[in-house]
């Protein structure tokens, strides 16, 4: 016989792991877009007419 309570804990642990991975992925993507913007903007700012 399987233990329903234990299964729930396993499910919850797996779900928590997936959520953390998804959150880290999204934060990384936002950080990446920010850094790319700064890098691409940097050169253009230096070239702009004063």
């Amino acid at each position: 016989m399987s233990d329903p309570k234990r299964e729930t804990e396993v499910d919850a642990k797996a779900r928590r792991g997936r959520n953390v991975a998804l959150a880290l992925g999204l934060v990384l993507f936002v950080a990446l877009v920010f850094v790319v913007t700064i890098v691409r903007l940097g050169g253009n700012v230096a070239l702009r007419p004063l």
Partner: protein, 320 residues
């Protein structure tokens, strides 16, 4: 969550979703893409270079997830693939497909915005070619599946080159051609000793459709094209003396192993009337394994030498 529905043995862990991205294939794609980016010779901001490689890697991973979603029925029948997350029941097919589509969109859009739209377009083409043309059409319908489908695996150097320069010149396509011609002998050597698996799954791989002798002949033919093609970058202003040495030496070993495989009985079933038959077939399978293993080393050496020459700043060959 979909995973909680009946029929799923265990809840999906985040590692299962990483496995959907085929990390080992991803590492080869990253390596060849990086070589294309560096070999272009165009200075590029390190952050943008890293983003380009990340986009290539994520795009390849997205193709892998779409492939695992669509091919779950085939994967379940083959020993090598039955433990993958979808056929094993750890991840729902719809979740794998969703991951593939989302990562495809993210990688192509980021490549376009951060680098240029030629690189993004080539990346999008690669993903669609692998997921739709190869996975959904060619793989199940023709013995030429990995020949034509190999284009998807061959394009990363062109994407890397385009990301750095905004162009895709002939030298970039030469790197693509090397991987394209390398793919058939590489995969057919593997399929010679795994053809039972493919036959069970109904995948028309060359040994299943045309037989082992025809496959060995075609492996030799492709190797005869590949060996000189691998040397060509030394004469187009791309490779230097080190590349010439490695490509000539590697090409000769490749031809030797392909010739040995051609003369062997690899992929054939043993003749029950002949006691020596089983031994011959087993020994021949070793010839197929040798070519398969060396083909990986050969391609790695070619691209690694090119990469090192450009990073260190060694000059390409001067012919005139």
């Amino acid at each position: 969550m979909l995973e909680a529905q009946s029929g799923v043995r265990a809840p999906a862990r985040w590692q299962d979703f990483v496995q959907l991205l085929k990390p080992r294939v991803m590492s080869l794609v990253v390596f060849t893409g990086l070589t294309g980016l560096v070999a272009s010779g165009q200075p590029i901001h390190p952050v943008l270079a890293a983003v380009a490689i990340l986009c290539i890697a994520v795009g390849a991973g997205a193709s892998g997830a779409l492939n695992m979603w669509y091919d779950a029925d085939i994967d379940a029948k083959m020993r090598r693939t039955r433990g993958r997350p979808v056929p094993a029941g750890r991840v729902q097919g719809a979740d794998a497909a969703g991951l593939g589509v989302v990562l495809s969109l993210f990688s192509v859009m980021l490549m376009g915005m951060a680098l240029n739209w030629l690189a993004a377009g080539l990346l999008a083409f690669t993903i669609v070619f692998y997921a739709v043309v190869y996975t959904m059409w060619l793989k199940r319908s023709t013995a030429q599946n990995i020949v034509i489908g190999g284009l998807a695996g061959a394009l990363p150097p062109v994407i890397g080159w385009a990301a750095a320069t905004g162009e895709a010149p002939l030298n970039a396509w030469l790197l693509c051609a090397i991987i394209f011609i390398w793919t058939p002998p590489h995969f057919w050597a593997l399929s010679l000793y795994t053809s039972e698996d493919y036959a069970r799954a109904g995948v028309p791989m060359m040994p299943v459709v045309s037989g082992a002798a025809s496959t060995r002949r075609q492996i030799l033919a492709y190797s005869l094209i590949l060996a000189p093609l691998g040397v060509l970058p030394a004469f187009t202003g791309l490779g230097g003396v080190a590349y010439l040495s490695v490509s000539v030496g590697g090409g000769l070993v490749l031809l030797l192993l392909a010739a040995r495989l051609f003369r062997s009985r690899a992929g054939e079933s043993a003749d029950p009337r002949n006691d020596d038959g089983l031994y011959d077939v087993r020994a021949a399978a070793k010839d197929a394994r040798n070519l398969f293993a060396f083909s990986i080393l050969y391609l790695t050496l070619l691209f690694a030498t090119l990469l090192v020459e450009h990073v260190v700043g060694l000059p390409p060959m001067e012919l005139f």
